[in-house]
Symmetry: D2
């Protein structure tokens, strides 16, 4: 990703002028504001605005007049309690606004999370830039043979070269033709029609605003090891920002969501039997082969 | 409404310490932060936090890197265009967090607006204060005879006195008994049960967070002349705050929402005929008596 | 709860006239339609309409033209997979519409679940019936001493009698005065004002429509042993209906939600160590005393 | 659009077996169930399920036990009243489930309406069909010169031919290469990566479920003359289905939404002055040139 000098100048200007506010300020997040953190080959994530901090979560949980307790330790304990017991509304009291540049096929997956506000760059109104996602060689994988919805081994040599060759050539040709179509001195096709010739690895941009509870839900699914690599890198970039913004809430999220395991009624039953010394097998566990395999992975 | 010295001290402390931020600051809103604006006899509205300003609406609409245009005039034109043509997503990019104290029967109406985040004071966990809404004499009205869902004339003399007497006596008695029920040295009833003895004019509190688009929707319905007085005064208080926060967006809201009229296909047809000099009556207008009456009110 | 003869006649009429439809029919749910299942002393839950069944979940997950697989076993496996891996959208393809009569303090808790459609009986427009929730003696409990937000032991003897006496007397007096206030030949106060004199144990009614995914979320929280008894009985009544409607989805919900346990990163780590034979104590577990206690309860 | 014999057989089977139900049945909608109504060159809309009818709207508005009034006329009056006065919750009590096949660039616009449930065909898991939207000659338009976000005149002769040639050739080449990429005996690229080579005119499919209130909102924006043609034809197809399903609600929607005009405070003021005989010009109207032009269009 490279910003134009104009874009960089706009960002620099925004970062040059701190102003006084009476609102809650999260020092860890101020450092991120407006900067474009690169993701993939041309994408980025930028924090455009935020509301609240760890203390604001506690303040809302207590419906209090002031900041609430002075003790950071008490606040951490409360936040962990709220997270552990699925009290989600206090986390909804923090809000994050991002500017994201991302490939269209990633955007299509991302937008499935409906509880957020979105303004996307309009290809009916504007002309898209000539920027396409071309995967780095180490991220070109074969179809998984065990998971219909995932990747297997990294492709190498001739096969990887063939992938890159096709993606680059088709992107270039489609964009050349897009330009031919919209050229006002040539065909002059309406933009809302011409855009249909562009493949799903072209980059788009949007403003995306979400509350912390729904953001955690997004991050749990998309920063997960099973998420598609191309969206996971965005989620991981956001995780780092959130960790600087609301450190206590993020730690609780790591412990009780990202790193947690949900055990079914059958799994809990097996576990108790095993801890009592019983030998439990798939046969006497009441689980399907698939569930049993998942259970083994958890306790190994 | 009167704040306790502790509450006032907490508010004063929050207002005493401006901190530098790189975020957008709305000067008109900084003046409102944390102060408790009185509403009804014991209620209030306090701005606890906000995100964005008029320029942030335009910035999102343009999906831009910086502040966007330097011209305030251009921003106003864009905001009016967005409002007029129901482009709602840019307005969703501003967010407001309020602390509200309000009677339960008002809270029950307010919560019907689902697209907001809420943390309410828990009467399962805490003990409610002895504060009840008792209407001022000029807001004690008879049932309307024309509108099943509204108020008619102000009650006077003996009738108004009877209303006040009943409301005050029942509130006091119910609260005394609530105290008897929860008294740990007496009955010691669980709070989650004891609260059921309290009437709907008792005050509750909540943190309420909403984006500007959904807030405008709330204000259009609740600041309207047909809204119940007791919720309208809250909406009006919020209108004043929003007007100081995002003046251009608020003006567009006044012109295209609050002060606007939606005319049915039949009304528009009549209007055109009337402007051409035709005499239109209910008979040849294709409207019901009720619609015709509403139409007359609009054009009078 | 007792229905008036008119209400019973309306229900009987609705149940007397089956009509042919090409839509999916869930036989287990047809048996529940329109009947009023009693809950608490005057409340009820009635199924008014439903959309979809177990097969409809699979059909949506597969985006298929027809019913999808003919094999019930395959459908069950798919449903369990979807539930286990938090693929929530197929469950959103089923919808349930209920008519519920419930005390206002229960309604206030219920409405916190925002992702549903609601039409409540309007006390601005109509007059509420003289029906109040008075707990049965075995559900009158003291405040819990270990949980600020819960109930302890059942109250007995004089204390329980005092509770019933207060609740009954205050309900009766408040309703008498409500009638005095709205009496058109007397005070004639507007209904929207008079309702504020009614305590939170009065019954209200609403139509509530929700998709199956959000309903499961509601049931997980409200049919839980920690939920307040007065809302839990509603949730339990709905659980039985859902079990008859979508048996495979409900079984998966029981195994992977209701009966499941979410273990934190620390708990999973301890578990692995314990299964390897290590003696783990709170000291070397990295958990707070509270978390350790919760962990012990799970594995006991 | 052409269905495969298997697909047609599945649809025929679903339509061949009416079953008795006690639920509300909308005869006008039964006729549409499961049939695939063609839209564009390969797309379709199919009703998969529905809940409710006109009477169900009234029943919810009245929170009644039975069907409510027997009089169709009363129901129509109530529905028109509810629509006119923006009482949206009763309309939320009807629900529609559609199966839609549509080009990806249309799907991207459609999904912006967030208050619906969606299951889309997964190109991570499955292989997309070789079907691309190629506009009919009469729908190939130049970029509008007056509206940055719209179409101008139809292109003809050589220019139209060039558009078709480019769209067809790029679609074919991209799909050929997609096949090369995913071919298990060849490159064997993961499907989640290969899909990025496909242009936005490829067809996708989804199940889409929405309540009537939110559907009306969608239809008002997308069946509007200013909507892009390729989504408008889907909206128009749905309008016909809804008109057969809930005729009274649809008529009210036509009169008070689709055919209505919202007049700003300034417009209403001008109108009153004009009806009193005053000559109003842009200069003395308090409107911008653009608003004035829009006003002239309304009253002409």
């Amino acid at each position: 990703m490279s910003l134009s000098p104009e874009q960089q100048a706009e960002i620099d200007e925004l970062r040059a002028n701190p102003q006084p506010t009476l609102r809650v300020v999260a020092p860890g997040m101020e450092g991120h504001l407006y900067k474009a953190r690169p993701v993939l080959d041309h994408g980025f994530v930028r924090v455009v605005d935020y509301m609240g901090d760890d203390a604001a979560i506690c303040q809302a949980a207590r419906v209090s007049y002031g900041k609430g307790t002075k003790s950071v330790q008490n606040d951490e304990g409360l936040i962990r309690y709220l997270m552990r017991h699925w009290h989600s509304t206090p986390f909804e009291m923090c809000e994050l606004k991002l500017h994201v540049k991302l490939p269209v096929f990633v955007a299509r997956q991302w937008i499935r999370h409906r509880t957020a506000n979105v303004n996307e760059y309009s290809a009916r109104y504007s002309i898209l830039d000539r920027e396409f996602y071309i995967p780095a060689p180490e991220h070109i994988n074969a179809q998984s043979v065990v998971n219909n919805q995932g990747r297997g081994d990294v492709l190498e040599g001739e096969e990887a070269a063939r992938v890159l060759e096709i993606l680059k050539a088709d992107s270039a040709r489609c964009y050349d033709n897009y330009q031919t179509l919209i050229d006002a001195d040539g065909v002059g096709l309406a933009r809302e029609l011409a855009r249909m010739n562009l493949p799903a690895n072209i980059y788009t941009q949007w403003y995306w605003k979400v509350d912390l509870h729904n953001l955690f839900h997004f991050l749990r699914l998309r920063a997960d090891a099973h998420a598609q690599y191309e969206i996971r890198v965005y989620a991981e970039a956001i995780c780092e920002m959130v960790s600087d913004w609301v450190p206590a809430a993020y730690k609780a999220f790591e412990d009780y969501r990202m790193g947690s395991v949900t055990m079914s009624a059958q799994m809990v039953d097996c576990l108790r039997r095993m801890l009592k010394g019983e030998t439990v097998t798939q046969e006497n566990a009441g689980m399907s082969a698939r569930e049993w395999r998942e259970f083994q992975e958890v306790i190994a």
